[in-house]
Every structure is written in C-alpha cells, then in structure tokens.
C-alpha cells in the first residue's frame, strides 16, 4: 500500500521565477485587458455594499421621507434585538448545512453507483441530472403543488395507492415546513454534487486500485484508503460551492412557504424588511450584518478553496 500516492497532491516542479523587469508602459499594456472587467465588478458589486453601510447608519423610512437623518447605531440595535432576524440567522445555518450535507452524501452514493458499468448508464446519468436543470422557481412550484399538496399531491396519492383509501394523508408543508423546503433543495442539489464527485472518481488513478485489488484489499479497504482520500478535495469543492449557492437561496423559501412557519432565511427576511416595512435603514443594517457574517465564512472558505485551487492555478 505504500506505493499509493495522492496524485492531486503531487508537488509540481515550480517554474523558474521570471525576473524579467517590465517597463511601466508594458505593465499597463498587460493590465489593459483586465481593467474593464475589474472596474465593472468593483462598481456594480462593491459600491452597493458601501452604500448599504452608509444607509445602515441613517434613519430612513420610505413612508416617512421627511424624517431622514443620522441614526448612529440605532438600526443595529434594532437588528440584534429583532427576534425575526435572529431566528433567520439560525434558519439560514440549519437550511444550508442540512441541504449541503445531505446532498453531498446522496451525491456520493449516486456517483459510486454511476462509476460502475451497467446497461443504460448514460440514460441513468441523464435522468439524474434532470432535477438540477429545472428552473428553481418551477421546481419549487412543482414540489409545492404537484407533490406536497395534501389533497391531490403525488406523495399522498402514492400513500393512497399503497395503503388504500384510509391511508394517512399528512400535511407536508404545514406539518414539516423546513424539511419540506430542504427536501426540494436536496432534490435539486444532489445531481450537482454527484457530477463533481463522479468527475473525481473518474480521475482516480486506476493502476493503484488494480494493485490494491491484486494485493487482496477488500472493496471497503479500497474505498476507505484509496477512493475517499482522493475524493476529499472534490468533497470540499462540492461543499463549498453548494454552500455559496444554497446560503443565498430565495426562490424555494419564497415559493414553498412564503417565508412562513419558521422557514424565513436571511435573504427572504431582508427582502421582506425592505419590501414590506419600507425601513431602509434597518434593512441595510441587516444587510451589513449578513455581509460581516459572510466575510467570516468566506475567509474560511477561501482558505479551503485557495489551497485546492492554487495548486491548479500554479500548474
């Protein structure tokens, strides 16, 4: 087993450092193609956050525009004492962690199945990708009306099929609102995880697996000591990218429960503060809190992703 080596971790020889000095003009000529994209990104994505920061220190309700002024930290006090916002933070964490972990585990199982040869593998792969390709709002509507509906939804219909006319007919959404939202998201994100992990499995060094089999390793040993270490970076990549997308989820919460029954996550809550309460100052303060939280998570996540991708970037 000592011959087994993690291929992705193999150090690539560093190219000789380029010490060639460029003149100022040459440096700007190199920067020129980059500038439009960089300036565009700074203006459209960074300036709004600066503006949010400024508005968060202001007293500003669009229903009472005359009373606009400097508010200091009042909006932040309001945000931190607002029970809705506090529970939204918890909901966001639970929702994101559950969806990412469950879809990662299911995706791993499916990727391991699809890594084997069997009749119709291409067709099964295509069927498994389909959930990811349904427009998120459409998927949420499908789950809400065609699957969860207690009277004519497919889930209760199947229960009637299996257990007859007096089968239990649960109210899926009002009975387990957060799980209902999570299930629909797991359905959409499992294919994503599967695709990334399948690509990881297929880049696994086959000769090492063959050698281990010849040496009498069991299927479990091959999985535990060869496959899983190789997949680690793909698991991290899937978890990271999944978190970036799921933490910002608005569509499923908005469509399935309209943020009710304790499912309002941060994006939905801020949307609501801004849309319904018209309190610009407080909505902005909530936005700043979200950004600060995201920066903490993103710093951690960027460290993970940079160790993963810098290798590839350097290559």
């Amino acid at each position: 087993m000592t011959a087994v080596r993690e291929v992705g971790a193999t150090a690539k020889p560093t190219p000789p450092a380029r010490t060639r000095q460029l003149t100022a003009a040459a440096r700007w000529a190199r920067r020129a193609p980059l500038l439009p994209a960089l300036i565009f990104t700074i203006v459209v994505t960074q300036l709004p956050f600066v503006a949010t920061l400024i508005i968060s220190l202001m007293r500003w309700n669009s229903l009472d525009p005359a009373n606009r002024g400097f508010a200091g930290v009042d909006n932040y006090t309001a945000v931190f004492t607002d029970p809705d916002l506090r529970s939204a933070i918890g909901t966001t964490v639970v929702l994101t962690a559950t969806v990412v972990l469950v879809s990662l585990v299911l995706g791993l199982g499916l990727a391991l199945l699809l890594d084997r040869k069997f009749a119709g593998r291409g067709l099964v792969r295509t069927m498994l990708i389909a959930p990811f390709l349904v427009v998120p709002v459409a998927a949420a509507l499908l789950w809400k009306h065609a699957l969860y509906n207690p009277e004519y939804g497919l889930f209760n219909g199947v229960l009637t099929w299996l257990f007859g006319a007096d089968a239990a007919q649960p109210e899926w959404i009002s009975g387990m609102p957060l799980i209902a939202v999570e299930a629909s998201l797991v359905w959409q994100w499992t294919p994503f995880m599967m695709l990334i992990l399948l690509a990881g499995l297929q880049s696994r060094p086959q000769d090492a697996v063959e050698a281990a089999r010849i040496d009498g390793a069991t299927a479990w040993q091959v999985f535990r000591y060869l496959t899983l270490p190789h997949l680690r970076q793909y698991l991290e990549l899937g978890a990271l990218l999944g978190s970036i997308y799921v933490v910002q989820n608005f569509d499923a919460v908005f469509t399935i429960t309209s943020g009710g029954l304790g499912t309002a996550n941060l994006p939905y809550t801020i949307y609501q503060t801004f849309y319904q309460a018209h309190d610009y100052g407080q909505a902005s303060a909530a936005g700043v809190v979200v950004v600060v939280g995201s920066i903490v998570i993103a710093t951690f996540a960027l460290r993970v992703v940079s160790s993963l991708l810098r290798e590839e970037v350097r290559g």
């Binding site: 190199r30 920067r31 193609p33 980059l34 439009p36 994209a37 990104t41 459209v44 994505t45 960074q46 709004p48 956050f49 503006a51 949010t52 499916l110 199945l113 084997r116 069997f118 119709g120 593998r121 067709l123 099964v124 069927m127 498994l128 990708i129 389909a130 990811f132 390709l133 349904v134 459409a138 499908l142 009306h145 065609a146 699957l147 509906n149 004519y152 219909g157 199947v158 099929w161 499992t190 294919p191 690509a199 990881g200 990549l237 990218l241 910002q248 569509d251 908005f254 469509t255 941060l266 801020i270 949307y271 801004f274 849309y275 610009y280 909505a283 979200v290 950004v291 995201s294 991708l309």
Partner: protein, 266 residues
C-alpha cells in the same frame, strides 16, 4: 454483482427523475384528471393546458428572459475573455490575488446590496427596464466566467505561443490560430453556465421589474398561491420555462460540470 448495482442505479435514477416525469405527465392531463387522489396515470393526453398557457400572454416574460440572458451572456464574454487573457497568457503582476478578488465577490450575498441597487434604479428611471437586469446579471456571472475562461486559457501551451512570437506572428494571428482553438470549448461552457444562471434568477427580477420587464421566473411566481383547478396549467408553465435550460443542459452535460466547478473539474 454488477447487475445488482445496475438495478440500484436505475432505481435511484428513476426516483430522482419521477418528479420531472410527473410534471410533464400532469401538464398533459386535463385539470380534473390532474388533481385526483390516487393519481390517474392513464388519463387521456390533452394539450389543453399548453393552449391555456399560451393564451395567457406568456410571450413578453419569455422574451424578456431571453433578452436578459443572452444580453448579459454576451456582455460577460466581452469582459471576461480579455480579463482571463490578462490572468493566464500575458499575466499581470499579482494575478492570483485578482483572481481571488473576483471569486470573493461571489461569496457576498447579493441581497445585502439590493436596496442601493433598487434606489439607483429608481433615481435613474431604470426600474422595470431589461437593460438594468442585463447589467446586474453580468456582474453576477462575471466572476464565474473569469475563473472558467482563465482555466481554459491556462491550457494554451506556452512553447507554442513563444514559437508563434519568434515566427513573427502578430497578436491577431496568435489569438486566431493558437488561442481560439483552445478557448472555444471554454467559451461554450461559460456561455452555457451564464445563460442558465441568468435565466433562473428570481430575486433581482422580482424586486426590480414590473409589468413591462418581468421575466419568466417572475411570471411563474403568479402561481405561488393555489386557486381552483390549475395544477395542469402550473405544470405546463413550469415545463415551458424549464425547457431551454433542460435542452441546453442535456446537450452539454460535460460542460455543465466544468462550468459549475469554476473550471476546477475537467
């Protein structure tokens, strides 16, 4: 042994596909047949719901979505390809920091910038205007596109570039003969991903558009509350709106993985 795993895989595939199949089947049933318990699988097929859907003026939102998605994808490519060139082939100094700056903008929740963006749209008279969405979708997809295009352009072999330079090939010739063949699959993957994300976007479209510039996902939110018998029509609408993404995604399954993993998985 392999046969058993095959059976498991087929079972899992059918299970995940079942909601999609159910959506399509329901959209092809009449309203009374769509809303039965137990479900009526073998009810007669009808295209009534599609007829009803296309009678309800779905074209403006579909065309708006198409304009916003194609417009922003073109703009993204125009900005991202030169940027990726400056981050891979003729590298600027501190290029990897620039690359991570682009990625970090994807980690900030868009919802936090929603209010200033709304106010800007309001003061400049750009509310309910598709051009404003094009700009926002461009900023949303640009970091992904820069990462993706960079990972493709980084594969252009340096020796060939140097050989081309020694042979006196100009910039245009080098781009056309050496860079373009490597970049084309990357451009295809990038376009696919940008198109799908723009087509799917709801939050900005919901806040910033109204009757004129509403996109297809905004149109779909009209079905959030259930009133009367409408299940078949909801399913028909969901099928039509998802169709472009389904077709594009199935046609380019491998590009999808590359794009979603920002080029880290090839």
């Amino acid at each position: 042994m392999n046969r058993i795993w095959g059976v498991f895989a087929w079972f899992a595939g059918l299970l995940f596909f079942a909601p999609v199949a159910w959506m399509v089947l329901t959209s092809l049933h009449s309203e009374p047949d769509a809303a039965t318990n137990p479900p009526s699988l073998a009810a007669p097929i009808t295209f009534d719901s599609y007829a009803a859907f296309f009678d309800s003026e779905p074209w403006p939102p579909l065309i708006n979505s198409l304009s916003a998605s194609i417009g922003s994808t073109v703009l993204v490519l125009l900005l991202a390809i030169p940027a990726a060139y400056a981050l891979s082939i003729k590298k600027v100094e501190k290029w990897s920091d620039v690359l991570f700056f682009f990625l970090s903008t994807k980690m900030l929740p868009v919802v936090a910038g929603l209010l200033p963006i709304y106010l800007v749209a309001q003061y400049t008279g750009m509310l309910d205007n598709i051009s404003f969405l094009v700009v926002l979708y461009t900023s949303m997809n640009l970091p992904i596109a820069v990462w993706l295009m960079r990972s493709f352009l980084a594969e252009v072999p340096g020796e060939i570039l140097e050989a081309a330079a020694l042979d006196g090939a100009g910039l245009v010739t080098t781009l056309r003969r050496v860079v373009a063949p490597v970049a084309m699959p990357g451009i295809a993957a990038t376009s696919l991903i940008c198109f799908i994300f723009s087509w799917n976007e709801l939050l900005f479209a919901r806040v910033l558009t109204g009757v004129v510039a509403g996109t297809a996902p905004v149109y779909l939110t009209g079905f959030v509350t259930s009133q009367g018998l409408f299940l078949a029509k909801v399913c028909a609408a969901a099928v039509v709106v998802s169709l472009p993404v389904l077709v594009a995604g199935f046609a380019a399954q491998d590009k999808l993985v590359q794009g979603l993993s920002l080029g880290a998985v090839k």
